[in-house]
Symmetry: C2
Subunit: 453 residues, 2 copies
Amino acid sequence: MSVPNRRLHLNLFILSTGHHEASWRHPNAQPQSATDFDYYRKLAQTAERGKMDSIFIAAKYRLANTIKHRVIPQLEALTLLSALAAATERIGLTGTASTTYNEPYQLARQFASLDHISGGRAGWNIVTSTGDATAQNFSQESHLEHKDRYDKGREFVEVVKRLWHSWSEDALVMDKQSGIYADVNRITGAEFQGKYLSVKGALNLPRSPQTYPVLVQAGSSEDGKQFAAELAEVIFTAQNTMEQAAAFYADVKQRARQLGRSSSQLKIMPGFVPIVGDTEGEAKQKERELNELAVSEYGVKCLSDILQTNLFDCPLDGPLPYDALPSLDEIRGQKARFELMVDLARRESLSIRELIVRTAGGRGHFTYAGTPSQIADVMERWLLSEAADGFNLMPPLLPEGLDDFVDKVVPELQSRGIYRTEYEGRTLREHLGLTKGAETPGRSAQPICETVL
Amino acid sequence: MSVPNRRLHLNLFILSTGHHEASWRHPNAQPQSATDFDYYRKLAQTAERGKMDSIFIAAKYRLANTIKHRVIPQLEALTLLSALAAATERIGLTGTASTTYNEPYQLARQFASLDHISGGRAGWNIVTSTGDATAQNFSQESHLEHKDRYDKGREFVEVVKRLWHSWSEDALVMDKQSGIYADVNRITGAEFQGKYLSVKGALNLPRSPQTYPVLVQAGSSEDGKQFAAELAEVIFTAQNTMEQAAAFYADVKQRARQLGRSSSQLKIMPGFVPIVGDTEGEAKQKERELNELAVSEYGVKCLSDILQTNLFDCPLDGPLPYDALPSLDEIRGQKARFELMVDLARRESLSIRELIVRTAGGRGHFTYAGTPSQIADVMERWLLSEAADGFNLMPPLLPEGLDDFVDKVVPELQSRGIYRTEYEGRTLREHLGLTKGAETPGRSAQPICETVL
């Protein structure tokens, strides 16, 4: 059997009862499972049975103001992923953590520890966070501006990478005879002094199996794309059509090459909401069933937040109030999501109600309902057209949307030779075909400064 | 069989290859295990077989400057405890986290998550941290003064308790029919505005099984004892003799009563380094064997740090340079440990070398080498004399010191009726006989302020 060059990478984005906003109301949903470890254990084990590269747990640093109508609370990413490390063998464990609201020393410790615990399966989705409500949970009045957030984010990533490199591979001597445990000349402090952060010492954990977690990034604004091209190894992105995805793919890979990076060291994985039916009709029926459970008050609230415009007084069956919308410059927070929503509504002439229903399943991510073979066709086409290196899977209803995918779509992908039938490596970087400890351009993997011991 | 009123509580303090500073050099030690999850898994499972109340993982926020001669690095507490939650069923999971170098919102999330994951087995050892070297890993020039640290610590505990109470028990409605997931009137923001910290919003996790982790504290200075009497549910302490321990016990319980607390809601657990032999001679031999492995350069360095006095120029076989020591007021950091060391050297007229050897096994904690029956005698005497409610066990060599204790001492304690033969409860508070969600005096467990939703 000939093996094509390109193979899909799959990441399972776990979100409580599923990515459809109304999933918790579905007859098969168990909304109380959002804080139940056994529920997450089973999901992770199913994804591992499906030979996926990684699971992914997102994180917010505030309670959503839409909690009245939607289950959002879920377990905290780093603690949950650590527990799941003990319940799985091979699958990657990727979690979100913010560069705006964490201390780099502590975050470096936690990800290094997760990488040790899991034998090299950690991944870090780097976010800069959004919103004053979050800032006010962290002893601050207001959130940093978009550009400042990314500048602080750059400093943060630089510091934690220095910390993760602070023990050279041969720093552990462990010579019982002489009583020398570590060679202190092979351990170096971060010695970082920046505008936002300063960290002097070395990490208090020896180098982890991957040296550092796979760096994931999900910003799709101009600042976000540049940040990702500089340092991300995996990019999550929301793209509505294959054409848009291909343009994004070409843009970001080109930026990476211009920065001296190999474009193969950057995997682009758009979000994908698959709805699997044994017939196309059954899949469409499943999609309708979920959409009918959506609470319109919730949808209007979310869309108002994204567009930073109060839509409660607008007729639901009319168009967006395009003239009243803020300009992109005025948007604080998720600029790319704003653009995607306005663009989608304009292109397809959607009413507010239609836009809400259209995005209820995956918050603007690409959604497709069909048979296993149709879904595999779509994924294969995106892969071969260089619109994606793989997908960030967002089943609308969990666990059944995942079970359907693993039982029905995965064998279809495997039989086409575009997806692994067994794990070949042990670490997440190996699953993704990434070089161990790939470096930011211009920075060496060698100890950076003199010992502080 | 008559059951006495008082029963021992046991906590296993896990520290890499053991609490003896030279344990890693022992022929049976595996120093590479310090970052090996399976090693910790087996230790936790052995402690659970021994029906212990909890395991305990400490945390530092800097690399020890003694790394040349001692294995200190171990996995990070919250990630490791979360992984161990998935590998155990009943034992408590207690970890250190600092009130000086964490953000309360994120720490509250992580402990609430651990409590959910483990079904109510989380414990938090509250520390305020020490030293400028730590501060310099957290974008600060120097460490807060002793009193300021405790003041910030009080604010921190107040904030996280508000966050842990932000969801009332009946806030989760989950009514699929009406589409109401949560009753937003039963979720309250922290609305805390202090000198050091301000946190406005509600936690984004529903109330955990224990509402909040068991609060543990280990300060033994005046500030530390007062802090503990105010809010701790468990106190770890270093005491050299039963008489000193009894005086400490009476002092802290009295302080708690004066603050309106029930003294039964505060469990005092001195550190205890047991060395188990089938004969007394074998136990003493084990102790000598470990002490002979100690590196004197390491011991002098540690003692110099504790006394904040350079001892490298002093004759090892002479006394401490008492006149050159700083006064207690001048000590920044661990005041109680300073007092304990000076007091021990004076009382027993120890040379510097003797003091180093005497404290090599447990850094000043009570150490006893004997047969299982002799060790049980000591523990029973401390318990019945109200010198302790239990012990924080610090085996000098792991895993074998733990195996010995569980296989030989635990049955002895059980046959005397002073230790459980089976877990009766599910949560750590149940193991410890603590009321669920005991409150700081003067603070109500009810939602504290108006909803911010």
